[in-house]
């Protein structure tokens, strides 16, 4: 089995959210959010701390029912799917999800087969173990298959989570700040891996440089509203960065590479 055989979905659907409203008590966390993540592309979800990125990802994953608005995968409303079906369609790598339970890497990855299994065991078809092997190979964890979770480095844990979500064989992959706490090499390797999967991917990121390097599109959230969205370079303008992050910065063409990079003038506003 190669990683191409993992694709059980006939196409890479768009992920579209419209008019999402989420309230937590009296606070409006998401206030009429419209998002389009194009099929097979990587969309960065940017925004300051507390702008609603995690909440939006949970809504996109169908884990949280918004007060108003709908999320469509292709033309199917995510909340209309059964729990099991939903988990076969959308997978989420949470922000620092860890455990004190010492499962092996293989067991963690095999959790991703759950939506494909019946309640009293038995996979539908018997490709479960093969899928687990394939995705471990894909993320480069085969040599760690029998290692315990608590012995893994941060980068290895994130790759194990990614493999677990891939074992779900989803059409849509949602990543919540997947590169936090990883060193530079691990950050780059993780995002390159996620990008090359060819799934419809939405990744909440803090690092604009990483977003620029690895993502096709961006969605910028600020105070629960979409402040801008579209292709990375045309969306992350100097004025947007000033309004959202209160810094003087811009995306400039890189002098040597065929892409843009972030340039910051070194000035910081007080009390932004």
């Amino acid at each position: 089995m190669t990683h191409r055989d993992l694709c059980v979905h006939s196409s890479t659907p768009d992920l579209r959210a419209s008019g999402i409203v989420v309230r937590l008590g009296v606070d409006v966390v998401l206030d009429g959010v419209d998002v389009l993540a194009r099929g097979g592309r990587v969309t960065a979800l940017l925004g300051p701390n507390g702008s609603g990125k995690t909440t939006l990802l949970h809504v996109l994953a169908g884990l949280r029912k918004p007060e108003r608005g709908t999320v469509l995968v292709g033309d199917v409303a995510i909340r209309s799917l059964s729990h099991r079906r939903r988990a076969q369609t959308v997978a989420l790598v949470e922000q620092h999800a860890t455990t004190t339970t010492d499962l092996t890497v293989r067991q963690v990855v095999a959790l991703g087969r759950l939506p494909h299994r019946r309640m009293l065991g038995g996979a539908r078809g018997d490709s479960g173990a093969e899928v687990v092997d394939t995705v471990m190979d894909l993320v480069g964890l085969t040599h760690l298959a029998d290692r315990g979770w608590t012995t893994l480095s941060g980068g290895e844990r994130q790759r194990a989570h990614l493999a677990r979500t891939l074992a779900q064989q989803p059409a849509v992959l949602l990543l919540d700040e997947p590169t936090n706490h990883l060193d530079l090499g691990q950050q780059l390797r993780f995002l390159a891996l996620a990008r090359d999967l060819g799934l419809t991917t939405v990744a909440a990121l803090h690092d604009l440089e990483l977003a620029t390097a690895f993502c096709d599109d961006v969605v910028v959230l600020n105070h629960g509203r979409v402040h801008g969205q579209g292709p990375v370079t045309s969306t992350l303008t100097a004025s947007l960065l000033r309004e959202v992050y209160h810094v003087d910065a811009s995306l400039d063409p890189h002098p040597r590479l065929d892409r843009h990079h972030l340039v910051w003038d070194g000035h910081v506003e007080e009390n932004s």
């Binding site: 729990h83 988990a87 959790l111």
Partner: protein
């Protein structure tokens, strides 16, 4: 593939050894007591009762079949129930200190039992011990209902945090009632009887109650085993369980109510026996790994063994007197728990 086969082979060995340990332990436990009956005579009694014929004395039959066998099997069943419930609740709440009494079941049961034992209310036509069992069961379910109402108020699912807090609150309320009733209305050795009930005892088990306990153990085993893979999905918390397609809220309800009902059934007959549900799951995880199918089966077996041996000690250590079995399980369990916690890896 070879890894899987190795694991399967290991599982077979573990299951075989466990089954052998259970049978051998039961045979030895049946022979021990105020009067020792040699294991060979124990087997003779069992064989005769199972229709294989043979000669046994009336005393041997009485001791082994009428008194000890229901007690030994009841201990095994109760131990299995408590350990299973502990394993389920520890995973469901991701709390290492969770035990079967997390949801107020033991304190509610104590309220019921004390009401009958001290106030003598509602004994009516029932035999005293049956009335206590019935009241304890009713008290446990009432406490559970209060805990669930408090924990689910506000309609945000059944968060483990709120559930634990609600359980603690209800436990304090119940213990206030129990203390007041015992101090204000208790006569003679009321306090002593209440204390001994709260430490648990399997002395009262006869075939009728043991069959109920066996039924509860079977139901718990099958029911929770069916949820084993869903429990695995809680390893990384509730969001991750949800994203793996587990209906988190309904799973919590089913398992919390399920554990509480089988625990209440057990408590109604044998009182509050602590530490089995807390310690056994921790004890078996290093041996069989962390996947719930293995953890649940091993917990059931481990709980059976622990409580059977604790009860055998309880009835044979001191001549003509029973040591409270709950005290023995705590005596064994507390050091083991500390030892296990000290050698745990960090997250």
């Amino acid at each position: 593939m070879s890894v899987a086969r190795l694991a399967a082979g290991r599982a077979v060995v573990v299951v075989t050894l466990t089954a052998a340990a259970l049978v051998a332990s039961a045979a030895v436990a049946l022979s021990l007591g105020s009067v020792d009956v040699p294991v060979a005579r124990v087997l003779a009694v069992l064989l005769r009762r199972l229709g294989a014929g043979g000669e046994v004395t009336v005393l041997e039959d009485q001791l082994v079949w009428q008194l000890r066998l229901p007690r030994v099997m009841g201990a095994m069943a109760a131990g299995a129930v408590l350990a299973l419930c502990g394993a389920v609740l520890q995973s469901l709440t991701r709390n290492d200190l969770a035990d079967p009494f997390l949801l107020g079941v033991s304190s509610g049961a104590t309220v019921g039992a004390v009401t009958i034992m001290v106030l003598g209310i509602g004994v009516g036509g029932l035999v005293a011990s049956a009335a206590v069992s019935a009241a304890a069961f009713a008290g446990a379910l009432a406490a559970l209902a209060v805990v669930l109402v408090i924990a689910s108020a506000g309609g945000r699912g059944l968060s483990p945090h709120r559930t634990v807090l609600a359980g603690v609150a209800v436990a304090y309320l119940c213990s206030a009632y129990t203390s007041v009733v015992v101090i204000m209305h208790g006569e003679g050795d009321a306090a002593r009887r209440v204390l001994s009930w709260t430490l648990g005892s399997l002395a009262g088990l006869r075939w009728d109650s043991t069959l109920v306990l066996l039924g509860a153990a079977l139901v718990a085993l099958v029911w929770f085993f069916a949820y084993a893979e869903r429990l695995d999905a809680f390893t990384f918390g509730e969001v991750s369980a949800q994203s793996l397609g587990v209906p988190v809220t309904s799973t919590r309800w089913v398992l919390m109510v399920g554990t509480a009902v089988v625990t209440a059934t057990t408590v109604a007959y044998v009182g509050v026996i602590g530490f089995v549900g807390l310690v056994v799951p921790h004890l078996v995880r290093p041996l069989v790994g962390n996947r719930h199918r293995a953890v649940l089966l091993a917990s059931a077996a481990g709980g059976s063994l622990l409580l059977m041996w604790a009860d055998t000690a309880a009835r044979s250590l001191v001549d003509r007197q029973e040591v409270p079995v709950g005290a023995l399980t705590a005596l064994l369990g507390a050091p083991v728990l500390v030892w296990l916690m000290a050698r745990r890896p960090r997250a």
